[in-house]
């Protein structure tokens, strides 16, 4: 019954939107949040499962009454990876009086940060660029930043290199703010004593063939390639490396290349795209719990996906988890503010966000460590988990870790 009512309300709402009214009356307490995301642009393969995660978890919250009789509404709107549309959506959501905002790309997060500051609204972007945190107080990174991820991988390489001398590493970056995010921090870590030899930094283009690049890597003795980019270029590179017989069979195999990737440069969707080239021995790090091995988090995610009729590809996608997690955090802050008897406003949610640390850290089923925010540290989950692909599935290696050098260079 509730579900039906909810649907009717949404329909009524969209009618009003259609007519161009910007205000509407709703019975009872309704908390609104907004998500502007790319579903028809360059990164629709990431944005779509993310938006499904948000949508399903919001439904779940309302169906299971996790907020009591109050309702959570999340406006989800496609921006096609265009910053202007993101801004338009954000202004629209503000007209709707949202109390919490979910953003998507690095570019739009950077472009809108002044607005977030002026509107004093807590924001969780899908971009984990550490630069998002500069020059404002209201953007929170859900998980460890790209810098932590890339430096963390580099530390793993340094610690586990079997051959003699420093391991030779190349960075494979997306030609944008998103890709370049960890570049300088990796360099700084090396200056601070991280024992790797950074041979080359490649900002890739729309290449169909990476043979020359891979051969160059090999001739320079590069044994590890760390990717901070989206899945398609990684897939093309891996397929190329596979056909050249360059992919290391075991970690750090001499004369071959071991490929490692940050959050958006790996995961089940990469295996879907690269086929057998990513099936074995691809190393990937993220703060999310892996969705293909066993565990309570995985079971809960699959149950959620099944409940709302998502197919298997979506259910196991790391960005489906990503979407669920940001709503979990938002719901948790609302729940805490309510428990303290506060009125749910942006300011109240912000207070709860920055108080989410120490004993108050939020343990979610979807992440490998607790989500903790404070005024000084707005990076959510500080720990990372390393995964390796075997037979097309990702398995954990070791315990969750935190990057040391990122702390050192701060």
């Amino acid at each position: 019954m509730k579900h039906k009512q909810f649907t009717i309300m949404l329909v009524a709402l969209s009618f009003l939107l259609l007519l161009g009214f910007s205000s509407q009356v709703m019975a009872g307490e309704t908390y609104k949040m907004g998500l502007s995301i790319d579903m028809t642009g360059a990164t629709s393969d990431v944005g779509t499962p993310y938006s499904k995660g948000v949508e399903d978890y919001v439904k779940y919250v309302n169906d299971e009454k996790l907020l009591g009789d109050d309702k959570l509404v999340c406006f989800i709107r496609d921006d096609g990876y265009k910053t202007e549309v993101t801004k338009r959506n954000f202004e629209d959501f503000l007209d709707e009086d949202i109390v919490f905002y979910l953003n998507y790309s690095t570019g739009s997060t950077m472009a809108l940060r002044q607005d977030f500051q002026e509107e004093q609204i807590p924001v969780l972007p899908a971009s984990f660029h550490a630069g998002n945190l500069e020059g404002n107080d209201y953007i929170f990174l859900p998980i460890a930043s790209y810098s932590s991820q890339a430096v963390g991988l580099a530390e793993y390489v340094a610690a586990n290199h079997k051959g003699s001398g420093k391991p030779k590493v190349a960075l494979f970056l997306h030609p944008s703010a998103f890709g370049r995010a960890p570049r300088d921090d990796v360099k700084k870590s090396i200056d601070a004593g991280l024992a790797i030899d950074l041979v080359e930094i490649v900002e890739h283009g729309k290449d169909l063939d990476n043979t020359a690049m891979l051969k160059r890597f090999q001739s320079k003795g590069v044994q590890y390639v760390i990717s901070q980019t989206v899945q398609p270029p990684v897939a093309t590179m891996l397929k190329g490396a596979q056909s050249l017989g360059m992919i290391a069979k075991t970690y750090g195999e001499a004369g071959k290349i071991t490929f490692l990737g940050c959050h958006y440069g790996g995961g089940p969707a990469l295996v879907a795209l690269a086929g057998s080239a990513a099936n074995e021995n691809y190393y990937w790090t993220t703060s999310y719990k892996m969705m293909t091995a066993k565990g309570p988090g995985r079971d809960a995610q699959f149950a959620l996906a099944e409940r709302y009729g998502r197919d298997e590809n979506v259910a196991k996608d790391a960005n489906y988890t990503n979407g669920i997690m940001v709503v979990q955090v938002a719901v948790e802050t609302i729940r805490r503010a309510k428990a303290k008897g506060k009125k749910i406003t942006r300011a109240a949610l912000y207070e709860e966000m920055v108080a989410m640390n120490g004993f108050n850290a939020f343990n979610s089923l979807t992440t490998v460590g607790p989500v903790s925010f404070s005024k000084a540290d707005r990076e959510g989950v500080d720990t990372l988990q390393l995964y390796v692909s075997k037979g097309g599935l990702f398995y954990e290696i070791g315990a969750p870790f935190a990057s040391e050098y990122v702390q050192k260079i701060k």
Partner: protein
Amino acid sequence: MSYFFQLVVSGIVVGSIYALSALGFVLIYKSSRVLNIAHGQIIAAGAFITYALTVFVGIHIVLSFLLSMVITFFLAMSVERVFLRRLIGEPIISVIMVTIGLMSIIDGIIYMTPFGAENFSFPEFLPKTPISFMGISMSWTQMVGVLITFTMIGAFTWFFKASTVGISMRAVSDDQFASMSIGISVPKVFGLAWATAGLSAAAAGGIIGNITGLNFYVLHSFGIIVFPVVIVGGLDSIFGAIVAGIIMGLIQQFASGYLDGHWGLYGTADVLPYIILLIILLFKPHGLFGIHEIERV
């Protein structure tokens, strides 16, 4: 030195795939003088049809590759029949705009399927070991891709040189009124041009999909990537498309092989083709092999 030859070989491989992608533009432009902006979307559609036939229907990949070429042949023909037939005789710029609209429509249709937002990969049927010769390598996928490209281009060249239909298509591109007067059906020729462009797009889609995996954005952006190829070759020359494709492939490989990383330059492979294009156009305003139109006042 082997690095240099590797770049050459890779450049030729990539270039011939560009040539195949560019072929669709040339075929349409040759007969109807229209630049089809939605070509990248047709390439993507061809790749997805091949995948759907192989995995969802269960046909062998070689057969489904051929079958998808047949399907896109008829799809493109019906696109022409439904949307563009009415516009014969209207300003060319309106027709180009219609292809921009078509781009959105095909986008929309593809977003309705799982292909719009999910990644897929063709089942592998070729050996995974590279073909190596004196330290220069190339994968089987690329090898097959190059073979298909040259077969297709050879077939089209023969088609335009020797077959009656091909010759009538050339006649239409030369002078529509004159060809009508000798009994060639101009609308039919336009339809056929679109259909053959669709066919070549499906072939290109299949090959690119095998190299990059199936991601909608990657596949459809090929429509724009091959623009300079089409122009440098001359908009109406099939031979020009091959030569320009290979030139572009080589330029890109050399740019990313020798320029990137030096003097703070990156991503030169994406911009250098356009710079070279500008320079070539300044000296040869109709591309390398384009036909010079004689203008009369």
